[in-house]
């Protein structure tokens, strides 16, 4: 059995260690009963038997890289809080909305107790006095499952006052969003949780660990990150780091979508699995659809610069992927085969980020929409040759200097590594540019072809010409 109808999208195939998806095979995986039957809350009990700093050391030693996108180690993040400032808060980032990404939704829908247990372990270890579990608004099923699990866990004495008879007391408050991608950015999440518009805060100078929710030290951790903690506490640091590589231990949930034969969410071994394994491996996607050629892929969520077959043998390892000109981000890979209309595909992403701009800073608000408008014109066949240079120049106003891109042998391009400079407050503006830059750098001839076509249209007809078909 490799797929479960109650966990649509998740694929359990091959013989790999499972850290966070171990209960997905059970239809009732979200119940306290099943959780108990499968070792649930043992991690919390182990944690409570230790001193908080011992638990923190264990997490630090396991190098659990943040699964939200930035990949910052959770244990290190916890250690960034000022030693003398209390109270501290934990905000759980369940606002998953990066294009291509989904794993937090599954973890919340399928194993909410695992997440709750992870929250409790984090709160205990880092001295976090209240937990706010922020779930994306458009995920009512996750909301219901987590809500039900919280109610059960309160009743069972896992949450609240004097947890399991100890002096550890913490509330977990279920909070829900209302549809804004940018709120997935941790400071925007905090603003949103304060009841405001989800506009990211500038960092530096201040990071949430020092000045966060209500101005207090705040840890913002991703759902998947926290879901790793129960297993870690039960199995120990050594068992955790035995999986994957030294710099990228453990497993990761990765969603592979687009033009592959078996798109799905897989829990893969971190650091070693290559993109080729993922796309062509029997236990994974089993090749490109219809035997087509792979043209390009987005390796780390919609914000990531694109790769081409030249990068297939890179492993799923952040530093290597960064050096190759992109990022792993939130574990989302979107695959394009040779039939793909590259400019049109880029437009879907640029449109997304332009639409999701919070609007507070100029380059993103104005630049994102400008990119979208020009690109849409080009895709519709109404572009001019100057438009292509202009797209890059608008992008430079958002990301001055060299923008990361992959090497390409056929084009004679060497890689420009991550990261980029940006004139914006957060990464939404650069993310609107990333697909434009990648597509134009790697597939400029496809844009030029659209321009040539436009040049054959009488000028008077430009504005009345219906848009040609889009991506297909």
């Amino acid at each position: 059995m490799s797929t479960y109808r109650w966990a649509a999208g998740y694929i359990d195939d091959g013989d790999r260690p499972k850290i966070v998806t171990s209960r997905f095979e059970y239809e009732d995986s979200y119940t306290l009963e099943r959780y108990h039957a499968t070792g649930g809350y043992d991690g919390l009990k182990r944690a409570l038997a230790k001193a908080p700093n011992e638990v923190h050391d264990e997490v630090r030693g396991a190098t659990i890289l943040g699964r939200g996108g930035a990949g910052f180690p959770a244990g290190t993040k916890w250690g960034l809080m000022p030693a003398d400032k209390y109270p501290r808060y934990l905000v759980v980032n369940g606002d998953e909305s990066e294009p291509g990404t989904y794993k937090d939704r599954l973890l919340m829908e399928r194993d909410p107790h695992q997440l709750i247990e992870g929250c409790l372990i984090a709160a205990y270890a880092a001295g976090l006095a209240q937990v706010f579990l922020y779930i994306r608004g458009e995920m009512p099923l996750a909301h219901e499952r987590v809500g039900q699990a919280l109610n059960e866990a309160y009743a069972a004495g896992y949450i609240g006052k004097n947890i399991l008879g100890t002096n550890f007391s913490v509330d977990i408050v279920l909070h829900w969003g209302a549809g804004a991608y940018v709120v997935g950015e941790e400071t925007a999440l905090i603003e949103s949780l304060e009841g405001k518009r989800g506009e990211p805060r500038l960092k530096p100078p201040f990071f949430p660990a020092a000045i966060g929710l209500y101005g207090q030290p705040t840890i913002v951790n991703n759902v998947e990150t926290l879901s790793n903690l129960p297993w870690l506490l039960v199995n120990g640091m050594e068992a955790y780091t035995a999986i994957g590589t030294q710099t990228s231990p453990g497993t990761r949930m990765v969603a592979v979508s687009g033009h592959v034969n078996r798109p799905g969410v897989y829990e893969i071994i971190n650091g070693t699995t290559t993109f080729r394994d993922l796309f062509y491996g029997e236990e994974f996607c089993q090749g490109i659809r219809n035997g087509n050629e792979l043209k390009a892929f987005v390796p780390g969520g919609g914000s990531a610069p694109w790769f081409t077959p030249d990068q297939l043998d890179l492993p799923f390892e952040g530093r290597l992927v960064g050096a190759a000109g992109s990022m792993l981000g939130s574990g989302a890979i979107m695959v394009m085969d040779h039939t793909t209309d590259i400019p049109a595909a880029a437009l879907t992403l640029t449109r997304f980020y332009a639409h999701e701009s919070c609007g507070q800073c100029t380059p993103c608000r104005e630049g994102g929409t400008w990119l979208e408008r020009v690109l849409a014109r080009v895709v519709a066949g109404n572009g001019t040759p100057a438009d292509l240079d202009q797209l890059m120049e608008i992008g430079e106003s958002i990301c001055p200097g060299d923008f990361p891109h992959a090497a390409n042998e056929a084009l004679g391009l060497a890689a420009t590594p991550f990261p980029y400079k940006m004139t914006t407050i957060c990464f939404v503006g650069p993310s609107a540019y990333a697909p434009v830059h990648s597509a134009l750098t790697l597939f400029r001839s496809e844009f030029e072809a659209k321009i040539t076509r436009r040049n054959s249209i009488p000028v008077a007809a430009i504005h009345s010409t219906p848009a040609p078909a889009g991506a297909h």
Binding site: A354, S357, Q360, T362, P363, P400, T423, I425
Partner: protein, 800 residues
């Protein structure tokens, strides 16, 4: 000095300043510069002579880093990084590049993006010519935008309040106005609405931006998105002439520039005076120029004839004035003459009038308060400055609603609470603007404030707070329908218990402190305003001289004011506008108004600042001092004043508290010079008041001012006249029921004096058992109910 010489020459080492722990060495565009620890890069660069372009940054508000115009490259040791100079502080050895190729590329890029959706309608925009977007596009931008797509479109402009229009197409979403509304004014009635490219500044659909401070948003808007109704399309910036001045609408003394074109006042803008107004103005002060330009100005002298007041020449009017004074003197001696007023003018006006009254006419009956303040002796108490209040650990308010009466002081107090966590202990008969920021808001029934203060002092938490640091008391008249002695007694009780406390007098009238200090106060045995009005009512005043004073509107006890004007045998009125009071005068002399005369003024702290003259006085009107000098001349005395400067010099020379307040000193101190507490002011003797018990069917009357009322400054400003809320009787919602009346209905309010008819409003900010009525509202008559000789006023409320 040689290397072996290690015994320093006398004074040599002490000449070298010790290393400043607050100094941070940086370079700005390669030039070494010493910045202050914690200073933002944008400020440090400015100190080093490098102006970094900016839109959202405003030195009086929290930086937000939204516009991205101020991006520079800064290298703190890890290589040059894109840095938001308005949010990141300097660090040791930081290399700041404001003009590197990268910095220039970013600045040009941001400007081009800002212009993408900007309509570029500069030729028809009020801001054109003084527009930061225009200016910085010229200095830092690419000069044009390649944006050829369709721009954002909105209905434009739309009124967002009675005074302010919004053009959303011009808006660059810098968050200045919205931040001001929330962070500075505390009136978050405008806000960003929508998201991304369709973000706009808006109010809630049916809740306009009705803030007393709305005009500031127009001033700080870096484009022409916000425009003020009174100024729209009135002038182009390059046609405006301006002079720095001080607003005298109230006694805070905000610094302004007064701007005019073609000899007409067109706009006041706030000037950032660090100890006073931080650049802000209230709307009443900002838009009061309309009243100077008003058709209701007195433009020529008037004398009474058989048919009423008729225009005449200055010579004739002055001769008539002199005759009135001489006749009065002849009839009953100089003590039968009284002068009320002086708070509206300059120090020079008041000084000339004080000399005329005391030295020429020789009357002791001179006063510049209108029965709405506290005894002049409060000026002799240890004085607090506005900064003392704003930096105090504890701020005690025994004062009227600062938001209504001294709006910019309210902003400073609010800032102290919000930014500095100062604790406010408010004693008040009615909740007001400060209440929501108060640590303790202690409501008291009129007359019982001494009990409230005593009880508070006995509260351990309050006592501990008062003992925990500096204490500044703002003291003024919170209720015009009660004796000032009740507040004085409470103040004395407080000061006895908190000896380190200092006092800021919340006297409201523009230059009342200056007038009092330069001599517009009774000489020994003289009458104050109430005494004068009483004497006049009793037929003992042969000549009543009103200098910018309108007892019918301003004196709380209207009946006494009316009887006084009826009883005074001769009345001389010097005023800018014809009022109900001047309408009863025998001679009316037209006075120059704000912006039409220069001089100095003294604010409630005792700070002396200059007033600038920008336009010629309306008609033949003259400054008060000139009128005083001319009358003195007519009475045979040459005061010796040929110019304002002569009097400024005379004040510095003759008035001890103005020692050192010279023209030279003022010219080099735009924030003003502090006058000293006048030694000659009599201390207030301990007072004690007996307040009768209120009959449980009665309500105790509380009367206080709203910012907008029927005073000439607002009543003759077309943009503001309709903002006065009108007279109504406010009862606590539970008392509405208890009184057996209905909110919204007209009722009779019956005092021992009179019956007034007004509408009832249910108002939870009113203390139970009291009724609050705003003072001096258009068509209002609450003054009829007030007996200024009674300690408090109790009223009954009945259905019609």
């Amino acid at each position: 000095m040689t290397a072996t010489d290690n015994s320093p020459a006398p004074g040599a080492d002490s000449d070298a300043p010790p290393p400043d722990p607050n100094a941070v060495q940086v370079t700005v565009n390669g030039v070494p510069h010493t910045a202050r620890k914690g200073q933002l890069i944008i400020e440090a660069a400015a100190d080093a002579g490098q102006y970094i372009p900016r839109f959202c940054y405003h030195e009086r508000m929290t930086p937000v880093g939204k516009c991205r115009m101020c991006l520079v490259e800064a290298d703190g040791g890890r290589g040059p990084a894109v840095t938001v100079s308005c949010m990141v502080p300097v660090a040791p050895d930081m290399k700041i590049e404001t003009e590197s190729p990268m910095a220039k590329r970013m600045q040009e890029g941001v400007l081009e993006l800002l212009l993408a959706n900007h309509p570029l309608d500069c030729p028809v925009c009020d801001k054109g010519g003084e527009c930061p977007l225009q200016d910085q596009t010229m200095s830092h931008g690419p000069g044009e935008s390649r944006f050829v797509e369709e721009k954002r479109h909105y209905e434009k402009p739309i009124p967002i309040s009675d005074l302010v229009f919004l053009d959303r197409e011009r808006c660059i979403l810098c968050d200045r106005c919205t931040r001001f509304a929330d962070e500075v004014a505390g009136d978050a009635l405008i806000h960003f609405i929508g998201r991304g490219n369709s973000t706009q500044v808006m109010t809630f659909p049916d809740e306009p931006f009705a803030s007393y401070f709305s005009g500031n948003t127009v001033q700080i808007c870096p484009v022409g998105a916000l425009t003020a109704k009174p100024y729209r399309f009135k002038a182009r910036p390059w046609d405006l002439d301006e002079v720095e001045s001080t607003c005298t609408t109230c006694s805070v003394g905000c610094r302004t520039v007064v701007q005019s074109s073609r000899d007409q006042l067109l706009r006041y803008q706030g000037v950032d005076s660090d100890p006073v107004n931080w650049g802000w103005l209230c709307d009443r002060g900002r838009f009061g120029f309309e009243s100077v330009n008003s058709d209701h100005r007195l433009t020529e002298p008037l004398v009474r004839s058989a048919t009423g007041l008729v225009p005449t020449s200055w010579n004739a009017a002055l001769a008539a004035t002199v005759t009135l004074i001489e006749d009065a003197k002849a009839a009953a001696g100089p003590e039968s003459i009284a002068v009320i007023g002086g708070a509206r003018g300059t120090n020079e006006d008041a000084f000339a009038w004080a000399r005329l009254a005391h030295d020429v006419i020789d009357t002791p009956n001179v006063y510049s308060q209108m029965g709405d303040g506290l005894p002049v002796g409060i000026l002799g108490m240890p004085r607090a400055t506005i900064n003392d209040v704003a930096s105090a650990t504890t701020i005690v308010l025994l004062a009227p609603d600062l938001k209504e009466e001294l709006p910019i002081l309210y902003l400073r107090v609010r800032d102290a609470v919000e930014k500095r966590r100062a604790k406010v202990i408010e004693f008040t008969p009615k909740q007001g603007g400060v209440t929501r920021y108060a640590w303790k808001s202690i409501a008291y029934e009129p007359g019982t404030q001494v009990d409230a203060v005593s009880a508070a002092l006995a509260d351990p938490a309050i006592a501990a707070q008062l003992a925990s640091g500096s204490v500044a008391v703002v003291a003024g008249r919170a209720n015009l329908a009660e004796t000032s002695a009740a507040t004085v007694q409470a103040l004395q009780t407080l000061l006895a218990a908190v000896p380190q406390a200092t006092v800021l007098p919340a006297f409201r009238r523009g230059n009342v402190v200056g007038a009092l200090q330069v001599g517009m106060r009774p000489r020994s045995g003289g009458l104050d305003t109430r005494g004068t009005l009483q004497a006049a009512a009793d037929g003992k005043i042969e000549c009543l001289i009103l200098v910018g004073a309108d007892p019918l509107a301003d004196f709380p006890d209207s009946d006494l004011a009316r009887r006084a004007l009826f009883g005074a045998r001769r009345i001389i009125s010097v005023d800018t506008h014809l009022s109900a009071t001047s309408d009863r005068a025998d001679v009316v002399l037209p006075a120059a108004a704000f912006g039409e005369k220069s001089g100095t003024t003294t604010n409630l702290e005792g700070r002396v600042t200059t007033l600038g003259r920008k336009v010629t006085p309306a008609g033949t009107s003259r400054p008060d001092w000139m009128i005083a000098a001319a009358i003195a001349q007519g009475l045979g005395v040459d005061l010796g004043y040929r110019s304002v400067d002569d009097i400024t010099d005379a004040i510095a020379a003759m008035v001890a508290s103005y020692d050192g307040v010279t023209r030279e000193a003022l010219a080099s101190s735009p924030d003003g010079i502090m006058s000293h507490t006048p030694a000659s002011i009599d201390p207030i003797n301990p007072v004690s008041v007996e307040i009768g018990v209120r009959n449980s069917y009665d309500f105790r009357l509380v009367v206080s001012r709203k910012l907008y009322d029927a005073a000439v400054g607002t009543a003759t400003s077309p943009s503001m006249a309709h903002l006065a809320p009108g007279q109504s009787a406010h009862l606590h919602p539970l008392d509405v029921e208890r009184a057996g009346v209905v909110a919204g209905a007209e009722v009779k309010v019956i005092s021992p004096r009179a019956t007034a008819v007004m509408r009832i409003e249910a108002d939870p900010t009113v203390l139970r058992g009291t009724v609050w009525v705003p003072f001096n509202q258009p068509g209002g008559n609450v003054g009829d109910l007030i007996d200024c000789t009674a300690p408090v006023t109790d009223v009954r409320i009945e259905n019609l």
